[in-house]
């Protein structure tokens, strides 16, 4: 092929053709990308005084696109095997799903060539017509209408460029191919084509594939992209919750100091005490009981960070529905070949990160009580205490009742 080239084209002709092709690819990139920004494009006709434009067509240059395109394109396009040059347009939903909509491709078909067509001016003029065709065609493919309707809450249109055979497989079944135009040159036919998706259903498997080459995302409407929106939401300072917290109309405005729950003074303290002692005395009775040595000993620090113990406590309260002092829930089998499975609270952040829900929960616990209920006498703790004690003293009696019941019904195991 290289020998053929030398035969057909003089060095200057080849250099000229290379230059034209490079600028055609650059301008084509601008046309395609700008048509997917989501806005109508208008460029004025220019007079001679403002200097010449490539191909006598006023296509404004987006600096970012020029930089990206130049990274992919380089000189000696036609000789190097780096053609075809592809521009892929894809859609990304606010949820992060990606769908490739179309692939524009500039390539050189070696099989067809016109040895007589070495006239630079003719090729240049034809390239101008090809670019105009591209401008017209970019407005009528399905992706154009989609790009005009893009928005931060629904989806954004992204682009990327690569030097390779067009990846048609990511356009789904039944994709269509159109030819924008072609130019016969001495070394082959330069063709501009587009393949576009016809089935617009997003499937979950269509996540981003090979992003290693070059991925330019969020180019369009960067200020409004959903990504940035989301970040700005999570950037809210953790203190915002307490600042915005509303105090009840008749509530005591003094913030109540949060106190760790004291087991001793609570009405059901003996109940809790029994439960805890059961664990301590019979650790092996439950196959998945927490290994108290690990939880309560020095090893505790290995499981959680010191500084987030408080947060974890409240997480556990929320999850278990009762007050527990365990910093984390672990399941440890008691065998020699035990496997420790750390149970993470679903949707909770890993230890070490402040959790908004924790903050909220804490605020909720500290909420001042309503003034209306100030005068209501608290539940008499001593009465309950006495009742419980009576029940405990009658424990033997209850046991005997249970036993007689069991004896009366032999089927009951």
């Amino acid at each position: 092929m290289k020998r053929d080239l030398k035969m057909r084209l003089s060095k200057t002709d080849k250099k000229e053709l290379d230059k034209f092709t490079k600028f055609l690819a650059l301008k084509a990139t601008e046309v395609i990308v700008q048509s997917r920004i989501g806005e109508k494009v208008t460029t004025p006709c220019k007079s001679h005084s403002s200097g010449p434009d490539w191909f006598n067509l006023n296509i404004s240059d987006l600096p970012e696109v020029v930089i990206e395109a130049k990274k992919v394109l380089n000189s000696d396009l036609l000789l190097s095997k780096k053609f075809p040059f592809c521009i892929e347009i894809s859609l990304r939903t606010a949820e992060g799903d990606n769908m490739v909509l179309e692939t524009w491709c500039a390539q050189l078909l070696n099989e067809q060539c016109d040895p007589n067509n070495a006239n630079g001016q003719t090729i240049y003029n034809r390239m101008g017509i090809l670019l105009k065709s591209l401008v017209s065609v970019t407005r009528v493919t399905p992706a154009y209408k989609l790009s005009r309707r893009q928005g931060p809450d629904s989806y954004v249109i992204c682009y990327r460029m690569y030097m390779d055979e067009p990846l048609h497989h990511c356009l789904g079944e039944g994709f269509k191919q159109i030819r924008v135009g072609q130019i016969c040159t001495a070394i082959g036919t330069l063709q501009l084509s587009c393949a576009y998706r016809t089935k617009m259903t997003i499937s979950p498997t269509q996540t981003s594939r090979d992003n290693s080459i070059l991925l330019k995302s969020d180019h369009f409407n960067t200020n409004l992209s959903p990504k940035i929106r989301r970040y700005s939401q999570s950037d809210d300072r953790p203190s915002s919750l307490s600042e915005t917290m509303k105090i009840g109309a008749f509530a005591d405005r003094k913030m109540k100091h949060f106190e760790e729950p004291q087991l001793v003074d609570m009405p059901f303290c003996t109940f809790f005490a029994d439960k805890l002692s059961l664990h301590e005395s019979e650790p092996q009775s439950l196959a998945t009981s927490p290994d108290n040595d690990r939880l309560n000993g020095d090893n505790m620090e290995q499981l959680t960070n010191d500084d987030v113990n408080e947060d974890d406590d409240t997480q556990n309260v929320e999850k278990n529905g009762n007050v527990s002092t365990q910093p984390d829930v672990s399941m440890v089998s008691t065998g020699d070949d035990f496997i420790m499975v750390d149970l993470k609270t679903p949707f909770a952040k890993p230890p070490g990160e402040k959790f908004e829900l924790t903050k909220f929960f804490r605020e909720w616990q500290q909420a001042p009580s309503l003034e209306t209920f100030k005068d209501v006498p608290p539940v008499d703790a001593t009465d309950l205490q006495k009742q419980l004690e009576t029940f405990e003293s009658d424990l033997n009696e209850f046991d005997s009742i249970v036993q007689t019941l069991c004896q009366n019904s032999p089927n009951n195991n």
């Binding site: 006709c45 006023n58 017509i129 105009k132 401008v135 017209s136 407005r139 924008v180 072609q182």
Partner: protein, 220 residues
Amino acid sequence: MNARSQLFELTVEGRQADEAVASIFHTVLFHRSLGKFLYSNESSYSVSSVGFTDVDCDFIDLTYVCCSSNTLNRQVKQEISNFSEQLRSNESSGVGQITLEFFQRKPGRYLFLQPDCIPWEVWTVRLQLISLENEGERQLCRERVGDHLTEKILYITEVMNRQDYIPKMPSRSEVDLVFDTSFPDVQPYLFKLNSSISGPSSGTSVGSTMRKFIKESLNL
């Protein structure tokens, strides 16, 4: 020389007529317009840049591109409006056609003769009007006509990129024989718009071609 001829047939609602024709003709004119030529001597010149504008149709699901030239667009719009008004008038049968004809002039061989106009490319849009009952049908028609025009625009670009005859770039003295230099910002190839309402007509292009044929025969 035979002029290339393309015919597009469309069925549209009355209010879509202007936009349907405009989308086709502006796409053609965009391809057939260059920047203004500035000659430095008889044979060498520089060319200014053509700008372009996206146009959203009101009654068709379509966006097309035209040259950013108010004067050119005004002229085309006027011609299309005249055609559309006639087509939609009560006297009309609801069928009509409008042609965009590119031609070049040949200097008259005799002083008393007008320069010959030799067409080299003719684009014809033949419209048939339909009336629709409700908004549901209108919505479907919007999309259908949009899809049809998309096909036509793709076809136009295909034709434009063929290696067909285009008049050669003229020298300074002959520029007016090839290009319409009356516009301040663009320089389209010489063109004219003709329309007829009651069905397909013989067409000016055929007539002028015949006239030229006879004249050239006599001169031989």
